[in-house]
Symmetry: C2
Subunit: 248 residues, 2 copies
Amino acid sequence: MTTSMRVGDLAKRTGLTVRTLHHYDAIGLLRPSTRTSTGHRLYGKKEVERLQHITSLRYLGLSLDEIRDCLTKPEHSIERALEMQIERIEEQIGRQTRLRALVQHLRDRLRTAEGASVDELTRTIEVTIMHEKYYSPEQLRQLEQRRAEVGDDRIQEAQREWQELFTACKKAMDEGLDPTCEEMKALARKRAALIREFTGGDLGIAASLANMYRSEGPANVLARHGMQVPSGLFEYMDKATAALRSDA
Amino acid sequence: MTTSMRVGDLAKRTGLTVRTLHHYDAIGLLRPSTRTSTGHRLYGKKEVERLQHITSLRYLGLSLDEIRDCLTKPEHSIERALEMQIERIEEQIGRQTRLRALVQHLRDRLRTAEGASVDELTRTIEVTIMHEKYYSPEQLRQLEQRRAEVGDDRIQEAQREWQELFTACKKAMDEGLDPTCEEMKALARKRAALIREFTGGDLGIAASLANMYRSEGPANVLARHGMQVPSGLFEYMDKATAALRSDA
DNA sequence: TAGACATTAACGATGCGTTATGGTTT
DNA sequence: TAAACCATAACGCATCGTTAATGTCT
């Protein structure tokens, strides 16, 4: 008879628990080679080796199902499993990295800004969620990089400039000015400049942005940035932008 | 009566499922403000807002329990929750980054090396697990950096040099040479040099390495690197090292 | 009356931890 | 006979997804 161990021994050797080995038996991942007449599990040398493979692959993050596939089927599937695992890990790293930046930003706001409430955090988070919905991962990276380049101060300032822009446009609209007048065309140029600054001139990002405004509605998007714009203002501003284009 | 919605409406508005809202109700996270006489749930404006906060905090990775705490207790706990979340995220990023390096390495071995089997992968993984057990995260980063600096070729070569070193020592031992003879002292110097190269001269890493060998047993550690050393060889080599030290 | 929408109830998935109850080995 | 060790069975966790059986709104 070769060396055969009982569950407790095997558990000690591998650092797993007896319960875990029971589980592996139950799901057919690692069956004991025999049982004693009274039903006690006996594991042979081959099972010990198999268990080592199991714990190793588990360490890599494979699910028990995937591990079973890797160990039963020929090794062709193991390479694919590793490829898939790499992809999963990279996805996670990307998400987590972006998430960390967001949470850190929120914590900083909470610590420094006075009026920072859960309400405000919520808005910021909703903007982020919207971004993840409309920008590709690659675009998100680009945007993050640009944010780092221009700095927080400039971003705050740009926010104010948007505010002023809307206020000025609303005033013009209320006064009944023709949207194609010179004053509005100047404001339309300012608008285009702010957008260009945000997109960094990237046409893909501009397209995604446009798509976001179209799908969500401009007022909703801006509301999440804490800006209220009266209905009809956008159509009015768009006329000015159109006038600009037909000039060129 | 204010605006009050039924589950389906609320679900559509937020993109959640009806089941999820049922769940939030069941665990007391979001209760409808009223019910119709027939038991249908009715949500008011306040509940809609609360749900927005819930989904936002959920996006950050907080558990439903934590979210409930953040929303019921004053906002002091939310900052702590974010701090904790940042820590968790950073831990994960660290682990995932190391894991990615490992899995990529294993995949590359599988693709290029001929004799790469699950057995070999298992050994590599076990070495990694052992390392995570004995080296601190900071030390692991240092080791990773050194590995990148010296390059794979040098690592392979060092492996061979270790092999040769053991072979030479074994020959000396078998021939009954005194471990304090000049030849063995030369080998002991070679041994020290290889260790220094691995540790990069870092004493903390050297200490962790020594601890690993002491706890796991030298033969076991080396076995995971695919090297077999006869029993007694280590004691013999240690005598030579001791002789070196007493020289100095 | 049909069709959309609501309700409660209960199992499923992941990977075991944690009792509970009782037999086996030494 | 006591101390370890073993067995099976079943609930628990976290967060809902997924039927299922049945009642309500319009």
